[in-house]
Each structure stands twice: as C-alpha cells, then as structure tokens.
C-alpha cells in the first residue's frame, strides 16, 4: 500500500482530483484559456450603461438578454481566435498597439499646461501662424455694363467727378444701377471683400486711398466707384486674443517632439539592419510616386 501511495502517477492523479474539487468549490476559473465564462455583475452593469448611454434609458429584460448573448459570443470568439493565433502577425493589431503606445506618450505631454511665458515665446517665434488679416470698410456705387453697354466707363468717370465734389458724405442711394451687391461693407477682413465681389475687385480696392472716392474698379459684375472709409493694418496678435490657438499649436508641437524623443530613446536599444530592395522594385516605387503627384 505504501508503495502504491508512493507511485508518482497516483500522486499526480490525486493532486489533480483535489485541485478539480477545489476549483469546483471556488466556482472555477473563468479567464482566457479556460472554457468557463462568467458574466459578472460588473460586466452586466457595463452593458447596461453602454445601452443607456445610447438610448437614454435602461434596456428591457429582452434587450438585456440580447446584449449578454452578444457579449458571450464576443468572449468566445476572442478566446478561440487567440487560441488559433489569429492575433499574431496582424498588421492592424500591430498598428493599434503602436497607436496605443504613442497615445500614452502624447497624453502624458498634455497634462502639464504650459506657462504664459512659454506661450508668449511660441507666439513671438511663429507670428505668421496667428497673423490676422488687414481690415477694410467701404461704400460703393455700381454701374452695370448690361444697362449701359457702351457708356459705362464714361458714365463712371462723370459720376466719379461728382462724388469727389460731394466727398465722404455723398448720398449715393439713388446713384448708379440697382444691384444685389451690398452698397456698404462694414469694417471686416479683406477676404470678405473678395468673397463678395471677387479677387479682381479686391485687388483694385487695395490700391485706393482711404477717404476719397476712387475707381472705377472693375469686378466680375461691372464697374464700381469706391470709397474706402476705413483701413486697418493687420494687428500684431496679442497672446490674450489668440491664446487658445497658440495653446493648440504649442501642444501639438510638444507631442510631436515627445514622440520623436521616444523613438530616439527606444531606437538606442535596438540594432536595425535594413536590406535594401533590389533595383527593379525601387524603380517601380519611384514611378508610382511620380504618377500620384502629377497634376
């Protein structure tokens, strides 16, 4: 009997039986690699809160059953897939892992807010990024070549002389031809002028002296006599005005730097050997790049 008890195989079987009983009593293992799936209260709560976020109400019992069933299928599929090794050598999974790693690094950078001094320095070294546009305000009188096929230009010259005599406060409501184009543009960015009247007109207006009727300025619609009532140079941006933009650019730059540093640091741990591709492949690659940038 003693000999039998000392038999390793029996010891092994007995230990196995004990372990089995113990696990049964404890409720069994339910992690990856086992065939047991336990949907804990926590998981159910997660499913319920996911549903509630979408629907703004908790699921009905039938809906909850559907959610749980789906979750069970997903869990089974996950385990089987991993067991079959489907997660290995998967470009997408590798890409996602890289993304997660990079995201961690980028996230860490965003946590310490930069000081105003840092932002000011950034603004000083990159003023063009935040440069506002020059602004202009104008009034205009329109002459339609459709309505005056031959006389538009001569009429414009005559009208201009009158307007100059009348000066800044000339009453222009009854002058020129009716149009849907605005007779007056309040002080705004110069791009607003080209959006409304076109680039040609905006260029013409840029050459006019403020405070005096000028033109005729040509547009895609016809001729215009224009009074630039106000013109402001592009203001140099103050940090207070563009703080959110500077912050955005600053943080973006900081995450880029952190990523670069990360890779530089990690690269030091590795020895990288690149086998250069053979000649024909390189040619092909060059040709396809050229093709895609042609236009």
């Amino acid at each position: 009997m003693k000999a039998i008890l000392r038999e390793p195989l029996l010891q092994f079987v007995a230990l196995g039986a004990l372990l089995f009983l113990w696990f049964e009593w404890k409720g069994g293992a339910s992690g990856p690699g086992t065939t047991r799936i336990v949907i804990t209260e926590g998981i159910v709560q997660n499913l319920v809160s996911g549903f509630t976020r979408t629907w703004k109400r908790p699921p009905t019992p039938a809906e909850l059953k559907g959610l749980v069933d789906e979750h069970v299928k997903e869990e089974i599929a996950t385990r089987e897939a991993i067991a079959m090794g489907l997660d290995r050598d998967d470009t997408v999974i590798r890409r996602r892992l890289r993304q997660k790693l990079e995201f961690l690094v980028e996230g860490a950078g965003g946590e310490t807010p930069p000081t105003d001094a840092q932002l000011q320095q950034w603004l000083d070294t990159h003023p063009h990024v935040f440069q506002a546009e020059p602004r202009v305000a104008l009034r205009q009188v329109f002459l339609s070549p459709q309505r005056r096929p031959t006389a538009a230009r001569a009429d414009a010259e005559r009208l201009l002389a009158r307007l100059r005599r009348a000066g800044r406060d000339a009453k222009v409501d009854a002058l020129g031809d009716p149009t849907m184009l605005p007779g007056e543009l309040p002080l705004g960015p110069v791009s607003e002028v080209s959006r409304t009247f076109g680039d040609k007109f905006a260029t013409g207006v840029a050459a006019l002296e403020p405070g005096q009727w000028g033109g005729p300025v040509e547009s895609a619609y016809g001729l215009h006599l224009v009074l630039v009532t106000e013109r402001e140079a592009a203001p140099r941006p103050a940090l207070a005005d563009v703080r959110p933009l500077v912050l955005r650019e600053f943080l973006a730059q900081r995450s880029r730097t952190q990523l670069d540093d990360l890779y530089k640091g990690l690269l030091a741990k590795y020895t990288v050997t690149v086998e250069t591709p053979r000649e024909p492949e390189r040619k092909q690659a060059a040709a396809s790049t050229a093709g895609s940038v042609r236009q």
Binding site: N46, L47, S49, G50, F51, R53, T54, W55, K56, E63, G66, L67, E70, K73, E74, A77, T78, A81, I82, M84, L86, D87, D90, T91, V92, I93, R94, R95, R96, L97, Q99, Q146, D173, A174, P178, T179, M180, L181, P182, G183, E184, P186, S191, S194, R195, T196, G198, D199, F201, S219, A220, Y221, G222, R248, T289, G291, S292, V293, R294, Q295
Partner: protein
C-alpha cells in the same frame, strides 16, 4: 437707431405691418414728404444699421466623410476630421494620394458626418479590438487593403453592410471603449475647429440605413457643443443597439433632446438610390404612413440633400417630361449597391419634386405634410475634402482623386444585375447655402430649421426668393431686394396662408452669379399643386433671363442661352448670360382652394465639366458618352401655400 421711435418703426417694417415703399431707397419711388410723415426722426444714415436679416449666404457642406468612416478608410482615406476642417477653412492640405490641394475660397461651415456604424473602423477600429479583427471576413478585408485593393474592399464592405452580412464581431458598437474613443475624437475635432463668427464646425454623424442596398441614409447634425454630444453615442443601424428604420432614429433624436436639452436635426439624401423607399406614400417598414409618421418626419427632417456626388435628385426626365433641365447628373440605374435594378414606377418616390407634390396629398389626407422639406446640397465626399469645384474636383473617394486613370475607371459594377457606374458619372456637386444671421452653430442650425436654405451644384451663386401677396414690378428695381423681400413677404422655406380676396401669390426672385463663376442663364420658378380631384401637377416658369431672348409664344419657354465652352481647352467666356437677374412673378394659375408650393431654380450658362479639365490636364481620352459640359444650378427651398 438710438431713437426709440425709429427703432419701433424699423421693427414694424420688419414685421411687414407697414408698406415697405415708405423706406425703399430707389430714387424713382422715393418721396421725401411721405418719409417725413412716416418717420418723425430721420432714418439712420447707414441703411445697413439695425438690419436684422442675413446679408450674405453662408456656404458649407453638411455631409463629409473622413477616414473615420469604415468605407472611406477602406477606399484609402487618410485624412481625419481635423484635416477636413482645416481644408474647409481654406488651408492647403496634402490629399489622401499625396497631392497638395486647397479650396478657391474657404467654406463657412462644415459637418463631418462619418458613418455611425463601425465609427472609427479605419484607422482606429481596424486595429482597435484584436479579437474582432480575428474574424475571417475582417481578416479578408484587411488583407485586401494591405495588398492595395482598398477600393475593392470598400465596395465589398458596402455590399455586405447593405446585405446585412457583416459579421457582428467586426463592427465596434456603441458602449465599447473603441467606439467611445472614436466618437470623442470626432467631437473633439469639431470643438477645436469651431470658431464662432468665422467658421462653424458642427458635430454630426451619418446614420446609414441601407437594408437590401436601398439608401435611406440620414445625416444627424447637433446644434450644441461637446457637453451635450458626449452624453450620448451615435445611433447605429445594427440591432440590438440600433435600427434601420427611420422611425427609430426619430425616437433616438427625441430621447437625445429630452435627456440633454440639446437640439438635433436629420437630413436625408440620395433618394435616387433608395429604389422607391425614400418618400413612401402607403407604408414603410411594415407600418402605414399615418399621422404619427408625418408628424415625426416633418419635425425631424426639415431639409433634404437634393444634390451631391452620387447624382442630383431634384427632378427626373421621366417624371417631368416637359422640363428640359430635369436631366441633370442623374443616377437611375439601381439602388446604392446596384443589387437591384431601377423600375420606372420607383422614381416617383425618390425625387424631391415628386415628394414635394406627394406631400401635398398626404397633408390633405393626414393633416400634416411629412415632405415639407427645404433644399440643400452637399458633397458626400469620402476623402475629408469638400472639393467639388469642377476645376478642383478631388473625387468622391480616395481612388478618385485626380489621376490620368479616373476618367475611364469603373466606380462599381454588379455582375449579377449588370449595373455599372463609371467614375466619370460621379458629379462634382454640391454645397449647402444658408441664410443665417451670423456664422455660428446656433444661427446656422436655426436657419436650417426654418428652411432658409438653398442647394447649389457647387457654384456659390447668391439666391434670394421671397413670396407674398403684394410684390410689384418696381420691387425688382429696389436697391436692396432683401429688405423689400423680408418686409413684404416670407423668405425661402416659409409659408403663405390666408389668400386675400382676389389676390394671387407674388414672388421676388433674384440671383447674383458666383464672383469667380459663370454668368446666369435664367431664373425659373417651379410650381407644384394639388387639384380639386386630388391629382398633383407641376409647371416650370421662366421668370428672368439674360439678353433679349423672347419666350416661345406657345410654350412660354425661353430659348437656349447657347454655349461658349471650348471643351478641348476647358474654358468658357462670360460673353453670354447675365451677372445678375431679378424678377417679380405672379402665379397666373392660382386657385386659393388648392395647396401649392413654389421654389426657384437658377441655371448658369454652360461651363466645362470636371471631365473636361481632366482631359485638358492629363491629355487622356474620355470614354464615348462622357459628359464634358455642365450647367451648374441652384435650387431654393420651397414656399408653400396652404388654403385656410
């Protein structure tokens, strides 16, 4: 305008309670004595002071996909929402195929509307859940994409999605960390790009109901910011969390508004690919079209996207045989995936004009018109690039970005049905124009809700359209048509009721060409009405046109404007057409007992189509039958007349 009386007078004018002639600034009609009587104080020097109506339309796109959309990503889109906003604001970006690209002018607003099903599939989700990608179907698509067959993978994905045969394990669904993170990123991009007063970045998504390949897609647009949008995750079409039935989407929208106090709207598109399902008359999803359906649809879907890259859906030549402009960028071969061919009897339930007509029938029957929608255009580009100008067209999907090949390639083909769409058939269209009082989410959303919008096929023409009972010829000569329009009538999207005895509706329609675009050929007013016998009719009236053309005495139609297009050089000249057109029109066939709607359509002179620019720039040869010219156009939201 500080004087209280002056302010009061202006308010009265805005309400239309006094005749506008009192303040009209046209010299011919101006009478100082009358003015003095009406205003005890001088009107403000500046006619623009105190003006509360919008003065410039805002142009945008309510329907742009980025790499976050499963199919866009599969097609090779790399640009995400942040890039899309950057490009729309007028900055230069590098396209998905590595080409530098920039808009001729910035847009004023943008809705990035990525598909809610599989939100963030590419690039985030493709790798997000390893177990999900272990699915054989997912693996197959992944291999197709990595081996350079992304376009085939995308079409296969769309086909399987439409057929409901995508493995459930593949799509990230609301409630998962992956889905949540993609939605957060999309919302964050909109928040970062939103710049009130200068550029509006809306939070939004597309709900892509596509059962059996029938396109019932809707874009959902949020009025509010992240604090509300992040309380939820987008509604999907896949059960159990989602549904493919629009009625369930409306329930979700109701739940969102009740829960958060926010506001949302939905814009349907591509009825032309719904095979008769977009505007049902009898039943939908096994339920009768009843009062409840009409109430809900009228409440949530106040706009319809009438033109985009996958065809224009205003009118169809079969439905409107007397409309010589109805044949515009038509896609009528089948449903979205080409799995079922089109039958003529489906068309009536797919096109905007017939839906507007059928809406009158339903209104008579149910008391509410479910199809009382305004019109907008948008791109539906899947490139992150709202680039649909003919000479700057970056295609619908990444493989359709400019290349010598796109002129002759196949967009998709179903060998079973024989349905085939070529890349050249994709239209460079459209944009949404909104008469908002300022460039903010709130103001644009509210203008959309009141349907004060119009659709263009990519041009940025300015369109005004007002309806009232008292417009007169001289209003067309006013210096500020908008002021007369708002004072004497309602703008596009509005309602006319209580016809004064013996009066017919009058309309003020005006259009100004795109400052860098083509001249205008004509303004038309399209009328649809329901007669005493319960039958619907339509008629197109030419109301303003360029030059000295005379309408045909029999048909009333104005002859063609001609064409200056030099296809070989991809050029045209503005030597025909007019830069500006305006007219007052009175309905000659008005019957106060009959329901009716009116909308304006403005047609440009012919210009080179994007295909002509391709031939000119790449020196390649188009396939026979390729359209090389286009007449860009705009469609206003209708104005409805309802008998008391």
């Amino acid at each position: 305008m500080r004087h209280p009386l002056a302010r009061w007078c202006l308010a009265v004018v805005m309400l239309g309670a006094t005749p506008v002639a009192a303040v009209a600034q046209d010299a011919g009609e101006h009478n100082p004595a009358d003015l003095a009587k009406t205003f005890s104080n001088k009107p403000p020097y500046s006619p623009y002071a105190g003006r509360s109506f919008p003065t410039r339309p805002l142009f945008g796109d309510t329907h742009l996909h980025t790499a976050f959309s499963m199919d866009a990503g599969a097609f090779g889109a790399k640009l995400g929402p942040a890039d899309a906003f950057k490009f729309a604001r007028g900055e230069e970006v590098t396209s998905n195929t590595g080409q530098p690209v920039k808009l001729s002018r910035p847009l004023d607003f943008l809705v990035v509307a990525d598909h809610s099903d599989g939100f963030g599939f590419f690039p985030q989700v493709v790798g997000g859940a390893p177990a999900i990608m272990a699915d054989p179907q997912g693996r197959k698509w992944n291999e197709m994409i990595t081996s350079g067959k992304g376009a085939d993978a995308a079409l296969d994905i769309i086909r399987n999605f439409g057929a409901g045969t995508i493995s459930k394990a593949i799509f990230p669904v609301p409630g998962t960390a992956v889905y949540r993170s993609a939605w957060q990123q999309a919302v964050k991009a909109a928040e970062a790009a939103n710049d009130p007063g200068r550029f509006t970045a809306f939070i939004g998504y597309e709900w892509t109901s596509n059962t059996a390949g029938n396109n019932l897609h809707r874009n959902v647009v949020f009025r509010d910011d992240a604090t509300k949008a992040l309380q939820i995750e987008p509604y999907t079409t896949m059960k159990p969390l989602g549904s493919d039935d629009p009625v369930d989407l409306w329930k979700w929208m109701t739940a969102f508004e009740e829960k958060t106090g926010g506001r949302v709207l939905a814009i349907a598109h591509n009825g032309n690919l719904s095979n008769g399902q977009m505007f049902p008359m009898v039943e939908a999803f096994g339920r009768k079209i009843d009062r409840a359906y009409a109430d809900e649809r009228a409440k949530w879907e106040r706009l319809y996207e009438v033109t985009q890259t996958k065809g224009t859906g205003e009118a169809h030549p079969y439905l409107s045989p007397n409309d010589e402009f109805a044949d515009f960028e038509i896609w009528d071969k089948g449903n979205l995936d080409g799995s079922v061919a089109k039958k003529k009897e489906m068309l009536e339930f797919e096109y905007a004009r017939s839906a507007l007509k059928n809406g009158l029938i339903l209104e008579q029957k149910l008391g509410v018109n479910p199809y009382k929608f305004g019109l907008i255009g948008s791109t539906d580009a899947h490139t992150g690039l709202a680039a649909i100008e003919e000479e700057n067209f970056f295609g619908k999907t990444a493989p359709q970005e400019p290349s010598p090949e796109r002129l002759t390639k196949t967009f998709f083909a179903d060998p079973k049905t024989g349905i085939k769409i070529m890349d050249w058939e994709v239209g460079a269209s459209g944009y949404a124009a909104v008469w908002a009082t300022e460039n903010t989410r709130e103001a644009i959303f509210d203008a959309m809700e009141r349907r004060e919008t119009y659709a263009t096929t990519g041009t940025r023409m300015v369109m005004r359209f007002f309806g009232g009972w008292d417009f007169e010829e001289k209003d067309a000569h006013d210096r500020m048509p908008a002021r007369v329009g708002y004072a004497k009538g309602v703008p596009m999207g509005g309602d006319l009721q209580k016809a004064p005895a013996g009066k017919a509706p009058t309309f003020l329609a005006a259009a100004l060409k795109d400052p860098i675009g083509a001249n205008l050929d004509r303004i038309q007013i399209v009328k649809g009405w329901l007669d005493a016998k319960g039958e619907v009719h339509e008629q197109v009236f030419d109301v303003a046109w360029s030059g000295a053309r005379k309408p045909d005495p029999k048909t009333g139609k104005v002859p063609s404007v001609g064409s200056t297009v030099d296809v070989a050089n991809a050029t045209w000249t503005n030597t025909i057409g007019a830069p500006e057109l305006i007219a007052v029109w009175k309905d000659p066939g008005f019957d106060p007992a009959q329901r009716a709607f009116y909308y304006a359509r403005v047609i440009e002179i012919p210009t080179p189509r994007w295909t002509a620019y391709d031939v000119k720039r790449f020196g390649n040869t188009p396939l026979p039958g390729t359209r090389m010219t286009v007449t860009e156009r705009g469609y206003t939201s209708p104005i409805w007349y309802t008998p008391n």
